[in-house]
Symmetry: C2
Subunit: 389 residues, 2 copies
C-alpha cells in the first residue's frame, strides 16, 4: 500500500518504471517569426527538447514523442545518475525496449505554453515569456495557440536537424492529439502513428469538463486577469486546478485503494466547517507541491488548446482522418473516465471504414486515464511489433 | 432535440413529467433547542415542508420523501395551477401514481442548510440564518451538520404531527443518505426503504470529488470566509460550483446529445483567450441563473454533510446495515458517474449477506446520475409493487 501512496504522489510526474542508465540532456531550439493558427506572429519561440538514440545517415529512423497535458519532453532516461526518477515512458523507450534506442532516434520536445514553467528542465514559450517587442511578459496578450501550432514548432525543430520524415509519432492524451495532428496534417511525412489514451476531436462533454480546470485559476484574486508576474502567484487557484486534473485522470478503484486508511468519520471536519477532511488536506498539500512548478496562465492556454482540438482543424473528424496515410495503433484505456474509450473506438471504426490500416488494443489497467502512462508496459510487445513492421 | 435542450436547462430543478393538478402548500415547522451531532445547540430551527394525501386515523400510512443535494421539499404537485413545473418526482407521487396519495400521506421537508436559500418556497436554517443569540447571520459559526441531523429534524417534524412510524422512506441521491439513515437509526420505525441513486457511505473518491464543488466558492474573493451577507455575493464562485455539480450529475451521452449544434472550431475562443468557447458561455449563463437562487455557504455545508455521511454514523457499513429491519428496494442508475452503481451493488450484497430483504433494480437511462429523477417512471411498477407488499 505504501508503494501505491507513493505512486499517487507522483501522478503525471516522471515515473521510474525500470532501472535506467540512459543519460539525457535538455537542449534548446529557437525559431523566429512563428505565425500561429490564430494569426499572430511571435517574433521568437523557444522550446526545450531531448533525444535518445542516434540519428542515422538517411535520417529515416526518427520517432517523435509528443507529451501529455501536464507533461514535458522528459519521456525517458535521466538527466543525472542520481535523479530519483526517469522520464515518464522510460519503461518503453531505451536500448532494447519497445521503442528501441539502439535502432531509433527518439526525440521529444516541450510544447508551447508548457505547464511546467518553473521546472528548471523545461523550456517553453507562452504567456510567462518576455515579449521581445515590449520587454514585458505577454500575460493574456499571448495569442491562443492550438495543437496544430505545437506540431508546427516540432516540424521546425525537426527541420533544423535535417529531418523531413517520421518513422513514427507516438503520444499519450494531449500527446495523442499532436501525434494525430501530425498524421493528418502531413500524411506523406508520417509512416506510423501510435495514439495512446487519446481522442480525435473534442465533444461538448470534454470541452465543458476542461473548463472546470480553468475556473479555479480565474477565481483566484491573485490571478488578476493573468497579470500576476510582478506579485503573488495564484497558487490557491492553481492548486485547485491540480486537484481537478489529478482526480479526473484516475479511476475510483485505484483512488480508493490508495487511501486504505481513509476514515469517513472525520472529527476535525465534523467540529468546524473551516477544517477540511484529512484526506482533502493531504490531497491539497500534494497538489500545491505540483502547482509550485507550474504557471497558471500556461495551464489556461493548454486548456484552450485542448478545447479547440479537432484533428486537421476540421470540424468533421471523418474528413480529417481520410487524409491519413500512416499505419495506426490505438491504445485507449478501458477504464478511462477523462478521454473515454468510446471516442477512440469510434475513431478506429471511422479509420477502418475509410480503408486505413488500424489496430486497436485497449489497456486493461487499474489507473483509468493514467494507464496510458503507468500500464504502458502491458502493450510493449504490441508497440515493438507495430514498429518492426 | 429541442426537448432535450429544455431538459438540460431544468436539471435538478423541478420537472413536470405529467399534467398534475395536485395543489400543495408550503408549511413551516419550528423546533427549539436542537443539538447537532457535532455538539452545538441551535436555539431555533425552522424548515419548510409539504404533504400530499391524507393522514389516516392510525397515522400509519406515512411515506417520507427526503430530497437530493440541490433539491427542496417540492417533490410533487404545484403551488398554483399556473406553475410551469411540478415537483421533481411528480411522475410517481400523486393520486393513482406509484406513490399513491389516495392511500398514503406523503410528506417532504426542506433539509437544514438547504441550498436554495433565495427560493421563496424554501424554509431552512443554516449559515444564512440569523443567530437569535447575536441578531446576526451565523456565517461559518453555524455548526457542521450531518445527514443524521437532517433526520433528527424530520423526526421532530413528524412527532409534531403525531407520527411515530413510517410506512416507507424514499429518497434519491443525498435523499438516499437520509432515507438509509432513518432505517439504520430507527429500525423499528421504518417498514420500507426505497434507496434511489444512492450510497451507504462515502469513499475517498467521493469525498475528494465533493471538495471540487467547494473549491470555487472559497476562491471567490466575494466569499470572504463566509461573511458576505452585507456585501456582494460570491456568485462567480457559486456559478462555477453549479457547473461542476451539473456536469457531474450527467452522463456524456446525454450531455453531448443535448448540444447537437456543438462546434469544436470556435472562432471567438481561438482569437482571444479571454473569450470562452460558446458552449461554456451558454453553460455559465445557465449556472448563474441557478446560483442566484442559492446560498454559497449553504452549499459548503451540504458538501460537508455529504462528505461525512456514513450510515448510522458508523465507520463500518456492514455494522450499520445489520441494524435495518425495513424491507429495502434499491434503484441505482447503471450509468451513474457521481454515485457509481458499484457502491449500491456492494451495499445490496452486504444487506443480502446479513439476511435482509433487499431487491436491487438498476435504472437503465441516458442521464447518468439524474436518471434517478428523469427516468424514475421506468421503475414505477416496481415501486408500486414494493409499497403494496
Amino acid at each position: 500500500m505504501l508503494q501505491r501512496l507513493v505512486l499517487i504522489a507522483l501522478i503525471c510526474c516522471c515515473w521510474q518504471v525500470s532501472a535506467s542508465t540512459l543519460l539525457v540532456e535538455k537542449q534548446k531550439f529557437t525559431t523566429t517569426d512563428f505565425t500561429t493558427v490564430s494569426g499572430v506572429t511571435l517574433p521568437e519561440v523557444n522550446v526545450g527538447y531531448e533525444s535518445y538514440g542516434t540519428l542515422n545517415a538517411n535520417k529515416d529512423n526518427v520517432i517523435l514523442i509528443t507529451h501529455y497535458f501536464s507533461g514535458t519532453s522528459h519521456a525517458a532516461g535521466k538527466y543525472a545518475e542520481t535523479d530519483a526518477l526517469a522520464g515518464y515512458w522510460d519503461a518503453i523507450i531505451g536500448p532494447g525496449k519497445a521503442i528501441d534506442t539502439n535502432k531509433f532516434f527518439v526525440i521529444s520536445s516541450d510544447t508551447l505554453v508548457n505547464a511546467n514553467w518553473h521546472d528548471p528542465h523545461v523550456i517553453t514559450t507562452g504567456p510567462a515569456s518576455i515579449n521581445p517587442k515590449t520587454g514585458k511578459r505577454y500575460g493574456l496578450d499571448f495569442p491562443v495557440v492550438t495543437i496544430a501550432d505545437f506540431v508546427e514548432v516540432q516540424k521546425r525543430l525537426l527541420a533544423s536537424l535535417g529531418i523531413d520524415k517520421l518513422y513514427a509519432v507516438v503520444g499519450a492524451s494531449m500527446g495523442s492529439f499532436q501525434a494525430l495532428e501530425w498524421a493528418v496534417r502531413y500524411p506523406d511525412k508520417v509512416a506510423r502513428l501510435i495514439h495512446v489514451i487519446g481522442a480525435g476531436t473534442m465533444d461538448a462533454w470534454t470541452v465543458a469538463g476542461l473548463e472546470k480546470w480553468a475556473l479555479p485559476i480565474r477565481l483566484d484574486p491573485n490571478w488578476r486577469d493573468g497579470n500576476y508576474y510582478e506579485g503573488e502567484r495564484p497558487l490557491a487557484g492553481l492548486t485547485a486546478t491540480m486537484l481537478n486534473i489529478t482526480q479526473d485522470a484516475m479511476h475510483p478503484a485505484i483512488y480508493n485503494a490508495s487511501f486504505p486508511d481513509f476514515k469517513v468519520l472525520d472529527k476535525g471536519a465534523l467540529e468546524d466547517i473551516r477544517t477540511l477532511p484529512a484526506i482533502n488536506q493531504t490531497l491539497a498539500a500534494r497538489a500545491l507541491a505540483r502547482a509550485k512548478t507550474q504557471d497558471a496562465n500556461h495551464i489556461l492556454y493548454l486548456i484552450r488548446a485542448s478545447q479547440l482540438f479537432s484533428a486537421g482543424m476540421e470540424e468533421n473528424l471523418a474528413t480529417a482522418l481520410s487524409r491519413i496515410q500512416a499505419k495506426v495503433l490505438m491504445l485507449p484505456s478501458s477504464g478511462d473516465l477523462l478521454l473515454r474509450p468510446e471516442g477512440a473506438r469510434a475513431m478506429a471504426k471511422t479509420l477502418t471504414a475509410s480503408g486505413k490500416q488500424v489496430t486497436q488494443s485497449e489497456i486493461q489497467g487499474i489507473w483509468g486515464h493514467l494507464d496510458g502512462i503507468f500500464s504502458i508496459t502491458s502493450k510493449q510487445a504490441e508497440i515493438a511489433a507495430f514498429l518492426a513492421e
